[in-house]
Subunit: 218 residues, 2 copies
């Protein structure tokens, strides 16, 4: 399996990355590796609203596989079969994400929305989304029937995120509202730090609110 | 990338395999490789109506990749970018199919419907279908906006397919009606042979009708 592209997103570390595709609205860029920078390879792709990205969970590789995992959606304390989840910890660390294609820029670069990938994630394949074969709106989807509701309110009493461009500010708030904390962490004094685009964002969580306490350029 | 499972389907060769998932109704069996025959690994999977199979185009590997391909849906004479198609001939020979989960049998074996895979195809990963993230019924899908219409009528004047079980007979007719011939073949005298389950099925195509001329057990 060879890397054909990688993605550029504001999420510089796993912490804060949305836990599924389509949950945030920032623009990400799929940049082909030099061998695949051929305009013809994406000819006609703009006729599709959505694309599949098949990619490598490059930060989640483990030597051994576990038959069961504990999905965050189940509170992190119930085990289900790994093939009944989209967990990154699976025998082959392959990720699958449906993203919206916004436009094709010269390069070619595919500008997409809704990616749930950490910055720099290697991409193995890009396929067009075919609604007749891929869309099953009525499908029962087990413990993840609907998108996770916003778990937290986001407070920025000092207006610290004014430093960020509007679209990034929006994406940051979406990420925080989905509660990026590991499960079982309920310490209101704990300070979390997230590398987001060129900023280090620090926040606390108490009483269902994530409060931003610093935004520093790094 | 390791093979975790393989699929058992009636399509013994590439010829006749449906060109996308969901177009036929036969039952296929996803059989785990010995190391992955662990019941817990699929615990909870029956709560999902559909599954993603990520698999290897093991009969379509080529040393060189081509930036453009000619999809059958466009008549086989128009080139589009490989990443704007689901063609098997791509830099990484990875296939992606959404199949319906019918039931889980001991093994575990996943019995699925709608697979577009040749018998014995290696499977790399199985993921649950999440309707909130994966379903976009309104998506523009370029040259493949809707399922291909049945291209051929199927005639069996001698009742030869009576030898097959009803579900296989149905799947065979669905496959033939989708016109499995390579493009540009319009010779009414040519006899095509297809290995289907334990049968060799021979047919001719003329005037929009596929006529079955022999069904032999092999």
């Amino acid at each position: 399996m060879i890397q054909i592209a990688h993605i550029e997103t504001p999420f510089k570390t796993k912490f804060g990355v949305p836990r599924q595709a389509g949950l945030t609205e920032y623009e990400a860029r799929v940049v082909f590796e030099p061998e695949f920078r051929v305009a013809e390879a994406v000819r006609g792709i703009e006729e599709f609203d959505y694309l599949w990205l098949i990619w490598q969970f490059h930060l989640a590789e483990r030597k051994e596989w576990s038959p069961t995992v504990r999905p965050p959606r189940l509170g992190g304390n119930k085990r289900v079969g790994v093939f009944a989840t989209r967990s990154p910890f699976r025998p082959n660390p392959i990720g699958l994400s449906c993203v919206r294609l916004l436009r094709v820029e010269p390069g070619p670069v595919l500008v997409v929305q809704g990616a749930d990938l950490v910055d720099g994630t290697p991409i193995y394949d890009i396929k067009p989304y075919l609604s007749y074969a891929d869309s099953h709106p009525e499908a029962r989807s087990g413990f993840a029937q609907s998108a996770p509701p916003a778990a937290l309110s986001v407070a920025d009493p000092e207006g610290l995120t004014d430093a960020l461009p509007a679209d990034l500010c929006n994406a940051l708030c979406q990420s925080l509202s989905q509660d990026p904390r590991p499960h079982y962490q309920e310490d209101p004094d704990r300070i979390y730090a997230m590398l987001f685009d060129r900023w280090e964002v620090r926040f606390r969580v108490a009483d269902g609110t994530a409060t931003i306490i610093s935004v520093k350029k790094c």
